[in-house]
């Protein structure tokens, strides 16, 4: 029997939903299971309603499931809000004193058991224990995870939580649960990471030396991970006074020779567009993460969207080359971030990484190990590389459009850089000839940049119909393909992560084989579909679009496609 169980932990912000969720996730990982978990929360620190939904399987899972096998309600509201999602034979477990007389309700005196074990504070450990016991998880693994989790807090705290864990197990001992399964402990399938951490690690693996940011959900996590590692590395993370400052700081740091990045969400990115153009015209390498959330303006601050694609491709006045990538998983987010730093310096252009709240805040088992290169190639010219350093020209014309990049005050070469149109020296110029040659020089990089673009990831590429998606929805789209194929529909998918410069040839090749293709996106206007049409003249037959701020469930995509086909 294959395992595919979804557990939802719901409650108010501040009740410890994530603590319980992460305990469960770590136990499952340790037992050799696959899992993914989404974090759904409101823009508030206390109260309201939040949930952590974890999907456990013996096969890789990369999208949430829409039905719940087990609902752990830390408050009454969670049960009322989610009882419809609960499977008929699922269980809703909650604090006994709160218990409602509802379908499948199992009341457990978490608080009372916690008081006996080590205090009220351990009630989440009791609850986690009860969940795991219901599922049939070996108590030994839970004991190990509890010990690891509370290791930093000392023996006393570990002891209290171990008692609490056991109390949770005991409480449901006599209860038989349909979705309990046989746990066959195996070695872990990979590390547990959310997208934020993967991006931060990718930056470390690329030798990022400076990061500037202004806090904004859902991008702050990236900077928090970087800041927590910064002490070990030659890395400074600076909280700027605003996003305008953040991007200009990283341009200055990069100009001076440090690999530099910033991370923000759409609203902050709006403020950065002026700086983006400055990086473009001054040919300064920078990496900018835009972790998307629904806009415009403040939109839905803690939720997910993919509605900034056409914006970031076109952001800032004027024209200049840039890379745009949208990784489809944490593993790819790690690789893409490291690659972004490399390509930014190789081509002396800004690189934009499009993440989103779903990717940044969801946890996944990452099977492919994050691999760290031994060496970093910098593409920096020093006096010895320059024929006549005292005659150095920062913007020397070259066939590739890439001029040797020297650093200021590093030798005899004097480096002059200007955001005004400039001549080869870097001095301001209004000459007609220079203007044309400089625009052409910058655009000349595009052919080299295009050769760096990976073709889209495909799954059943020879199918009659293809679903075209991009970025973080890859897991959901692939699972939707499985569902459609199960229903006898000859479907496959094409998932884009390398989006700009647009790899038109490989996209054409991938899409020409099918009869119809459909755009599947988390925006309301099919931005990828429109981009494909503009760049390849291939038209999408329809689109499955979700823009309510919540991540795609695979069944929604499959149902949407079926409706489109009718």
């Amino acid at each position: 029997m294959s395992v595919d169980i979804s557990i939802m932990i719901g409650g108010e912000a501040g009740q410890g939903i994530q603590t319980v969720g992460e305990l469960l996730a770590r136990v499952c990982r340790k037992a050799g299971l696959y899992l993914m978990a989404i974090n759904d929360f409101e823009s508030r620190i206390r109260g309201g309603h939040s949930f952590f939904q974890i999907r456990i399987s013996d096969r890789p899972v990369n999208a949430p499931h829409h039905r719940i096998n087990l609902l752990l309600s830390l408050d009454r509201k969670s049960y009322e809000l989610h009882k419809e999602e609960l499977l008929d034979d699922g269980i809703a477990m909650m604090e006994k004193s709160n218990s409602l007389s509802g379908k499948n309700v199992l009341g457990i005196p978490f608080l009372e058991l916690a008081e006996k074990s080590g205090g009220k504070i351990t009630s989440n450990t009791v609850a986690a224990g009860a969940c795991l016991a219901l599922l049939g998880a070996p108590v030994e693994i839970f004991r190990e995870i509890v010990s690891e989790t509370f290791a930093a807090k000392g023996e006393a705290v570990i002891g209290k939580n171990l008692n609490a864990a056991l109390a949770g197990y005991e409480a449901v001992k006599t209860f038989s649960y349909k979705y309990a399964f046989e746990w066959r402990p195996d070695k872990s399938k990979g590390i547990l990471s959310d997208g934020s951490r993967a991006i931060a690690l990718g930056a470390l693996a690329a030798d990022c030396r400076f990061a500037a940011f202004y806090p904004m959900s859902p991008a702050t996590g990236i900077m928090a991970h970087l800041a927590s590692a910064a002490n070990e590395f030659p890395l400074v993370v600076e909280q700027a006074e605003d996003e305008i400052s953040a991007i200009n700081m990283i341009i200055g740091a990069s100009f001076a020779g440090a690999r530099a990045m910033t991370a923000t969400s759409g609203g902050g990115f709006c403020l950065m567009t002026e700086g983006l153009g400055l990086a473009g015209i001054t040919e300064t390498p920078v990496v900018i993460v835009n972790a998307q959330r629904p806009g415009p303006a403040t939109g839905l601050a803690t939720r997910t969207a993919q509605a900034d694609l056409l914006f970031v491709i076109n952001a800032a006045q004027g024209e200049f080359p840039r890379f745009v990538f949208a990784p489809g998983s944490p593993a790819e987010a790690f690789e893409t971030t490291a690659r972004a730093f490399h390509l930014a310096e190789k081509y002396q252009v800004p690189v934009i990484i499009l993440a989103d709240q779903f990717l940044n805040d969801s946890m996944f088992i990452v099977e492919k190990p994050f691999s760290v290169p031994d060496k970093i190639e910098r593409f920096i010219a020093c006096d010895d590389d320059i024929k006549n350093p005292s005659e150095y020209k920062r913007y020397a014309y070259t066939p590739s459009g890439i001029s040797p990049r020297a650093l200021p005050c590093a030798g005899k070469a004097i480096v002059m850089v200007s955001g005004n149109e400039h001549n080869e020296d870097g001095h301001t110029s209004e000459s007609i000839e220079t203007r044309i040659k400089m625009v052409d020089k910058r655009n000349a990089k595009l052919s080299g940049m295009l050769s760096e673009m990976n073709p889209p990831d495909t799954y059943f590429p020879e199918s009659e119909i293809l679903l075209a998606g991009w970025g973080s929805t890859r897991g959901a789209v692939k699972e939707a393909v499985d569902m459609l194929r199960k229903d006898g529909i000859n479907a496959g998918c094409v998932n884009f992560s390398d989006l700009w410069p647009f790899p038109a040839d490989s996209v054409k090749k991938a899409l020409q084989v099918c009869k119809n293709f459909y755009a599947v996106e988390q925006n309301s206007t099919a931005q990828l579909g429109r981009l494909i049409k503009e760049q390849t003249a291939l038209s999408y037959s329809g689109a499955v679009l979700k823009y309510d701020g919540r991540p795609f469930y695979p069944f929604e995509i499959a149902d949407g496609i079926k409706k489109q086909m009718r």
Binding site: A256, P369, P408, I414, M416
Partner: protein
């Protein structure tokens, strides 16, 4: 030892004849020559405006950036390589208007750069609109009834934010200005040098003659700029007597002094540590 002409640039100077900026340019060259910092060891960053053209007119490494954004850009460069000598050429619109927020926070950070604000109390490049430092009542095409907002006082603002070097120069006294710039470069931390710079095209009020009658040389007075309250009083003086010189100076650790890891060397010279990255990954 460098020659004074080593700092010359052959780029055509696109300022009006008689512009106050020429005096500032001369004072900068004189200061750099006297400090014996060779052109390839200087980095000058500027925003947008007439002042921001300055780095092109002397020989140096330069980054001519965006309106108002020179300070964050300079901050990033200084953090990346705190061994650099960085100057910023800005103007009253660039630094106190468009870049006002950055000005506040650069002062708070006490980043070790020398900030020269060419303060002509008017917008030059956009042809004569009022600036944050325009005197109240000044009539322009855009402010036809006269400026109705309070005049921004950069010196007292900087002092209230804890600035460690607050000075005012006058572009009509280049020797005096050169001395301030030299002290500013030597000072560890942010050095604000607000420079009274007549605009011959758009400011008929604050002219060379107007200033010459009013400037009061604090060097001649042998004023010692270590008393905050006295300095605040001088910073607020305007009208018949306008003090020029170093108004306030207090040594304190700069931003990069407070980042301990930078004691081992500049960020840009740090080593790539793949084993440590691997360790962080494995700890997950």
């Amino acid at each position: 030892m460098a020659e004074k002409t080593d700092y010359d640039s052959d780029v055509e100077k696109k300022w009006c004849p008689g512009c106050g900026n020429f005096g500032i340019l001369d004072a900068m060259k004189d200061a750099l020559f006297n400090l014996d910092i060779s052109p390839e060891k200087i980095l000058i960053i500027s925003g947008i405006g007439q002042a921001a053209k300055t780095p092109h007119y002397l020989k140096c490494n330069l980054f001519h950036a965006l309106h108002g954004r020179a300070l964050p850009l300079a901050t990033g460069a200084k953090i990346a390589n705190h061994e650099l000598t960085i100057l910023v050429n800005s103007g009253d619109g660039d630094c106190y208007g468009e870049g006002g927020n950055h000005f506040i926070h650069a002062v708070r950070r006490n980043i070790d750069i020398t900030l020269l604000v060419h303060n002509n109390k008017v917008y030059g490049l956009t042809k004569g609109q009022a600036s944050p430092t325009s005197d109240e009542g000044m009539v322009t095409k855009m402010q036809s009834e006269g400026v109705i907002s309070e005049t921004f006082n950069p010196l007292s603002v900087a002092m209230s934010l804890g600035a460690g070097f607050v000075a005012r120069g006058f572009s009509g006294k280049t020797g005096h200005l050169s001395r301030i710039i030299q002290e500013g470069i030597k000072h560890k931390g942010l050095s604000l040098i607000d420079i009274l710079q007549p605009c011959v095209s758009f400011n008929q009020l604050n002219t060379f003659d107007w200033y010459r009658k009013r400037v009061w040389d604090l060097f001649e007075e042998e004023y010692i700029p270590d008393d905050f309250n006295k300095a605040m009083e001088l910073a607020g003086m305007w009208g018949d007597k306008i003090p020029i010189g170093i108004i306030y100076q207090k040594e304190k650790p700069s931003y990069t002094d407070k980042i301990h890891k930078l004691k081992e060397g500049a960020l840009v010279s740090g080593k790539y540590l793949p084993e440590k990255v691997q360790k962080v990954i494995e700890s997950l």
